[in-house]
């Protein structure tokens, strides 16, 4: 009975934590907070529920006195949390116009892509298939984040299978470079966008469970996993800072090869996705009509 009680409290706490973090890290700042967070009392209630949730999780671990049973219950709780999260992270994603610039609902700015340009470029597509703009924005959003998520997966697998920080970090760098090259050679991929979205759901449970499983073998790797989850999975710091030289060198090569706009990955991703959908909905757009008919 007490286990069920702690499980319910933990689930509520984790759900509030997920909702709270999504609400406060939105691209438009406080203006887009839910109404309950407009006053300090909303933040205080949220934090109380989050702390109760974490405390309940610890209490649950103490009550079960069995790591395997605890992991099973934790897997159940995380399943509930991520089924709820699924509703908040659809592949279709509305776009936002912030001072003329195009943003995804998830807060990504698509380089120098202007909202007007986007609306103009997708007008025939929207006429043919209403709702396509949200699909395009969602696919481009996840395609851009895949550059950071794929190395994360490589790092995770490096730690889990090789149990070595340096091997994991080398895999991280190799995966980053590989994805960077793949992006410019092959462009958009709805499959990879979907995988990125899926990894977003399972990232936290995967890191947490691996960390718990690795704990008996020495706590170094478990701590590394949690630290990595926070600084990369949450703040994107490793891919942004450590991979900056790779991005700068790669950007320079792309700039020389393809010209001005292409080294801006976010804008290029949007172009790739729009073109892919245009050719899918209008296959005859691949034919170049010269001016002989004018």
């Amino acid at each position: 009975m007490i286990i069920i009680f702690w499980s319910i409290l933990s689930t509520v706490g984790l759900l509030v934590a997920m909702w709270y973090l999504t609400s406060i890290f939105n691209p438009h700042g406080r203006i887009n907070y839910p109404m309950i967070l407009w006053k300090s009392i909303g933040h205080i209630i949220s934090w109380i529920l989050i702390i109760i949730g974490i405390a309940s999780l610890i209490a649950l671990y103490i009550s079960t006195r069995d790591l395997l049973l605890f992991l099973k219950i934790l897997a159940g709780i995380l399943t509930v949390v991520f089924i709820v999260k699924l509703k908040f992270t659809p592949l279709e994603m509305p776009f936002n116009d912030v001072m003329g610039s195009l943003y995804s609902e998830g807060g990504l700015r698509f380089g120098g892509f202007q909202t007007g340009e986007f609306l103009e470029a997708t007008e025939p597509l929207e006429k043919k298939q209403p709702g396509i703009r949200e699909k395009i924005v969602g696919e481009a959003h996840y395609l851009v984040f895949w550059l950071h998520k794929f190395p994360e997966i490589a790092f995770f697998l490096g730690i889990v299978f090789y149990k070595n920080l340096w091997t994991a970090f080398l895999l991280f760098i190799a995966a980053f470079i590989f994805e960077f090259i793949r992006f410019y050679l092959f462009g958009s991929s709805p499959f990879l966008s979907g995988v990125c979205r899926f990894w977003n759901w399972i990232e936290i449970p995967a890191f947490s469970i691996a960390s718990i499983i690795l704990w008996p073998e020495g706590n170094f790797l478990s701590v590394i996993l949690i630290v990595f989850l926070i600084i990369q999975g949450w703040f994107d710091l490793v891919a942004t800072i450590c991979m900056l030289p790779v991005r700068l060198i790669g950007g320079r090569i792309i700039y020389k090869k393809y010209g001005g706009h292409c080294h801006n990955m976010e804008g290029t991703a949007m172009n790739f996705v729009i073109n892919r959908w245009r050719l899918k909905l209008f296959p005859t757009d691949k034919f170049n009509i010269d001016d002989k008919s004018k």
Partner: protein, 137 residues
């Protein structure tokens, strides 16, 4: 309407026409000539020839042929010697040999039509050449 390439009459209906390629995002309809396989679009009741913009590769029918040989071999190996095996395996052998012959001796026009115009009917010229290669006439 007449094809701008061979000048023969061709169908430019948008419905129930296997030679209609579709409209582009500007609403311009594209067709393939039933007779010569030329691609063209129609604007203001005038037809304009258009290039496919890419070249079909010969390795595509050759690869198909090799795969069909493999399927035939697998059927013979796993399903033993009986009349059904010989019929089904024989069809795959014939298809494989036909694909390889097209890949080696087919004209570039036939290769283009076979590899690039997916979902669109073959022109009469291409069908005739295919028959000649397979000695079906």
């Amino acid at each position: 309407m007449n094809c701008p390439n061979c000048n023969q009459k061709t169908n430019i209906e948008k419905t129930a026409n296997q030679y209609f390629l579709g409209e582009n995002s500007q609403g311009i309809p594209f067709f393939k000539c039933e007779e010569c396989g030329n691609l063209f679009y129609v604007k203001e009741e005038t037809a304009y020839t258009i290039s496919r913009g890419e070249k079909g590769y010969r390795f595509v029918p050759i690869t198909y042929g090799v795969l069909e040989f493999l399927v035939a071999g697998t059927i013979f190996y796993f399903f033993g010697s009986n009349i059904i095996t010989w019929i089904v395996g024989g069809i795959f052998l014939w298809l494989g040999w036909s694909s390889i012959k097209i890949g080696i001796w087919g004209s570039q026009k036939l290769i283009d039509e076979m590899t690039l115009d997916s979902g669109v009917g073959s022109s009469k010229d291409a069908t005739e050449e295919w028959r000649k290669i397979n000695k079906l006439e």
